[in-house]
């Protein structure tokens, strides 16, 4: 299993300097990929722009959207953005797409959320048939499993303990079989971390996930705050057959990367 790291594009106090330092250091430490999230109605950077910036200061790391909310962009717009980043990064983009979790993102962009599943499928079909398409992943639950098998190279899980990933991975594989795709799906996982005391990063997660109600507490409680927790989490994902696990920061502190690399290597 490869281990990547998220870019600080939505943590409190994120800025250009931090992102550049973070991307450089992550690559030096050998993280396999740099991940970004996508939210419109939140203080956070547009994912393709952030990855473009990271592409400039890195050579090896793959650049992954986990996920980008496809229906918020027109397919033509997304295809040209992706093609451009693909060229700028010498083919390192992995485009993870989903419908997202919030209606207000759709309202902000003036997009009708009631047809978002269908819109995403049509978008994926179009992207996939373009010979210049980057590798595609699909995230989400329910219809997303077959959507991943139908249009993509794999499935990206939304986060949670290894057991939750295992359940989703089994479904992604089942959909892959149902679609009679050869081989098996690429399976990506993600988690949150902030090494330090037990409450580090919790405020950010509570805030970021405030729209989920009580669930935000659960996400905050699951934040990986000790090297042992990181290690157990990484091992758990590896045991469940994850291909690439991307750990997202919950605080804007570049010192976190070294601590994470140490915990992962231990």
């Amino acid at each position: 299993m490869k281990v990547g790291v998220g870019l600080p594009t939505s943590t409190p106090g994120h800025d250009r300097e931090l992102l550049l330092r973070w991307a450089r250091r992550a690559e030096e430490l050998g993280f396999s990929s740099l991940g970004v999230v996508d939210r419109v109605v939140y203080d956070c950077w547009e994912p393709i722009s952030a990855l473009t910036l990271a592409a400039e200061v890195t050579e090896q790391a793959r650049l992954a959207t986990m996920i980008l909310i496809g229906p918020l962009r027109t397919t033509a717009e997304l295809a040209s953005q992706a093609a451009e980043l693909q060229e700028l990064s010498a083919g390192r983009l992995v485009l993870g797409l989903g419908i997202g979790a919030r209606h207000d993102d759709y309202q902000a962009k003036g997009v009708d959320p009631s047809r978002r599943g269908r819109a995403l499928s049509e978008q994926l079909a179009e992207l996939r048939m373009d010979p210049a398409s980057p590798p595609l992943l699909v995230g989400g639950g329910g219809p997303a499993f077959l959507r991943a098998a139908r249009f993509a190279d794999g499935y990206v899980h939304g986060g949670g303990p290894p057991r939750a990933f295992a359940g989703a991975a089994a479904r992604a594989r089942a959909a892959w079989r149902e679609a009679e795709r050869p081989g098996s799906p690429q399976l990506w996982g993600q988690g949150y971390f902030a090494l330090g005391d037990a409450l580090r990063g919790a405020d950010y997660l509570r805030d970021y996930y405030a729209f989920t109600g009580g669930f935000a507490e659960r996400i905050a409680a699951a934040n990986l705050t000790s090297p042992q927790a990181v290690k157990d989490f990484v091992r758990g994902y590896e045991e469940e057959g994850c291909d690439e696990l991307v750990l997202f920061p919950t605080v804007s502190d570049p010192a976190q990367l070294d601590g994470l690399a140490e915990a992962v290597a231990a």
Binding site: A179, G213, R218
Partner: protein, 653 residues
């Protein structure tokens, strides 16, 4: 900490005990509507063997409870006037009243303030505490008061049930299936004291009406039910009533269990169908988890309640799912009344995916060994292979085992091909094999010998002219490379796929017949027609146009040798269609429910395909192949042994 607990059932009392026991300074009050000795319900059952958690949580109450237990490990199934006994299932029963009395005593000695006979009409007077616990049962006022926070999902199981008692102890947990002129009566019976048993009686709504129970008094209903089961009770023994009303089981689950200082637990937060006997255990485990989280987080109530919810929700959800499957099983159990008693009992034991062949073997190796010899033919032999490796005869063809794979040389009893197109226009993609290019049958050359290949003939219909599956599914070829598509109507399969023209059925029949002849000439002994997944033939079925598929089937059956089996791949959506296929000479149905329309959704999950196969096999009386997340030989054993399928498509590793 000041704690107000609403409801003095097992959940509320046990929480009070654990809180007081962890810190005597806690002020714990339990408020209950009923009197301390109110006797509602008879015995409660603990179906799981291990009560270690209770032992660790509070040794004193554990000893008191387990000393009052009636415990047994066999389980009896009374069906068709026969009795099948399966060992290794640890159950314990205790009178509900006794359980409550023991918990009340313990709580009282620990200094819990117990307030009985006080009706709670509003939560307001109780909110002045650090923690307010709604342990107030399935009809929870707490849950209703904070419905906007807990976001409950409520439902009802369609079957009717009622709790009765009996004035003697059934020897062990006993399932009774009794057919009457009004319909089926089932009883789940377990002893809870030397001279008492609980009998939960289940009937369908139709049976309830047919028997006139909808208009009877409680006494009349008791008398009628007792008459139904008199033979099983034994002469002179009686059933007992106590508010024994016929009701529908309420499904309750909540998105969240806590909000501010208020938390709900037990039945107030979640119900699990009584047929897996876990309600009381779930409630007690809730109390343990909640008390533990509160002890760990002391000052941080929010963290404690979050942890409680995080720990318990997944466990509860799994049990609820199992209990739903179990409830559905008992509601449709008549489907299995053709089964011989050993298989009927096997099916009952493995009704939820929690118990597989391996689990059952660990519980009662002798039952499984006897079952396996019965399954293998029961001809006096003492040993037999496990069900997955029992041969299967289909007309004159004998398959070596019950495992279906898509490649030869891997040990399967049957290899089924991907769709083999009857004509070039019927191809799914450029890599689809054409019947005219098919190689001769490799039968006998497979590893282990006896491996049969079934050719799956079909026509892609509107799903043709796609790019190869290595890229994806349903991605049309570039326009210049496409061939003309046909389907039942001029409707595209998906919004991004081309519109086909309307198919002319007559030549298609000839093409399928010619293809079937060719398959036979090549030496294959099994043929399947693909009527599934929105391909050409299924596009007719999707429009309820059964005539053409049936004509095609009959025409192929005519040229396919009478001693060789013919299969169909189709969905379980129309059992009527499947029955018609069977009448037209189909021996084997591969049940494939996915992809009929582009946006059809499959609910994946372990062995998800077994339920649909079960329905087809046992409602239509035809042999089936199950497909859908079957990943181990243990699962194949379980599905085949339980009569849910005759063959299983095993996912590759």
């Amino acid at each position: 900490m000041k704690v107000n607990i609403l409801g003095a059932g097992p959940a509320g009392l046990y929480l009070a005990i654990l809180l007081k026991q962890s810190d005597r300074r806690h002020q714990v009050q339990v408020v209950e509507r009923n009197a301390p000795d109110a006797t509602f319900g008879f015995g409660v059952v603990f179906s799981e063997g291990s009560l270690d958690e209770l032992e660790r949580a509070d040794y004193e109450s554990y000893i008191a409870i387990t000393e009052s237990f009636a415990s047994w490990n066999p389980l009896d199934v009374r069906y068709w006037g026969t009795l099948t006994r399966i060992r290794g299932n640890v159950f314990s029963g205790i009178a509900r009243q006794e359980l409550l009395r023991l918990l009340q005593d313990r709580a009282d000695r620990l200094g819990v303030e117990l307030v009985f006979e006080r009706e709670v009409r509003s939560l307001d007077p109780y909110l002045d505490a650090d923690l307010v616990v709604g342990a107030d049962g399935a009809n929870s006022l707490t849950r209703r008061t904070y419905a906007d926070r807990f976001r409950p999902e409520l439902g009802q199981h369609p079957a009717k049930y009622a709790w009765f008692g009996a004035d003697f102890a059934f020897p062990v947990f006993t399932y009774i299936f009794k057919e009457t002129r009004w319909g089926l009566f089932q009883a789940h019976c377990y002893p809870y004291a030397v001279d008492r048993s609980t009998m939960v009686v289940l009937i369908s709504e139709a049976t309830w009406r047919n028997a006139g129970l909808d208009e009877m008094s409680e006494q009349e209903s008791l008398e009628l039910t007792q008459a139904v089961f008199q033979d099983d009770l034994g002469e002179g023994r009686r059933m007992l009533g106590n508010r024994s009303l016929w009701i529908n089981f309420p499904w309750i689950s909540c998105a969240s269990w806590h909000s501010g200082p208020v938390v709900i637990m037990g039945d107030a937060a979640h119900t699990a169908h009584f047929s897996i006997g876990s309600g009381t255990k779930l409630a007690l485990e809730d109390a343990i988890a909640l008390a533990r989280a509160l002890a760990r987080w002391k000052d941080d109530r929010e963290a404690a309640l979050t942890e409680f919810e995080m720990e318990r929700q997944p466990v509860v959800e799994r049990l609820q799912e199992a209990s739903r499957v179990s409830a559905d099983y008992f509601a449709s159990v008549q489907r299995y009344f053709r089964f011989q008693p050993p298989q009927f009992a096997y099916q009952l034991m493995t009704r939820t995916p929690r118990i597989t062949h391996n689990n059952l073997t660990a519980r009662d190796p002798q039952f499984v060994r006897e079952f396996e010899t019965w399954f293998a033919g029961g001809d006096g032999r003492l040993v037999a292979p496990p069900p997955a490796f029992t041969p299967l005869q289909l007309r004159e063809v004998v398959l070596a085992n019950r495992i279906v794979l898509t490649r030869t040389g891997q040990g399967a009893g049957l290899v089924v091909t991907s769709l083999v197109a009857v004509t070039p226009e019927g191809r799914i993609d450029p890599e689809t094999v054409l019947v005219s290019d098919l190689a001769p049958s490799p039968t006998g050359r497979g590893r282990g010998g006896g491996e049969e290949v079934m050719i799956s003939l079909g026509h892609a219909g509107a799903r043709g002219a796609m790019r190869p599956r290595s890229l994806g599914l349903d991605l049309p070829l570039p326009e210049a490379e496409r061939w003309p598509l046909v389907s039942a109507s001029a409707r595209a399969y998906a919004p991004w796929t081309p519109v086909p023209s309307e198919a002319d059925p007559a030549p298609l029949i000839d093409q399928f017949v010619a293809a079937a002849r060719r398959v036979r000439e090549l030496g294959y002994r099994l043929l399947e027609l693909d009527f599934s997944r929105g391909y050409l033939i299924d596009s007719f079925l999707l429009e309820d146009r059964l005539d053409f598929p049936l004509q095609l089937l009959e025409a192929v059956r005519d040229v396919w040798p009478a001693d060789l089996p013919l299969g169909v791949a189709c969905s379980s959506d129309s059992l009527e269609a499947v029955r018609a296929f069977k009448a037209a000479g189909v021996d084997l149905v591969r049940v494939l429910n996915g992809q009929r329309t582009w946006d059809a959704r499959t609910e994946y999950g372990r062995m998800y395909g077994a339920a649909a196969s079960d329905r087809v096999r046992n409602e239509c009386g035809v042999q089936t192949i199950a497909f859908g997340q079957i990943t181990t030989v243990d699962e194949v054993n379980t599905i085949v042994a339980a009569g849910r399928a005759d063959l299983c498509m095993l996912d590759p590793l």
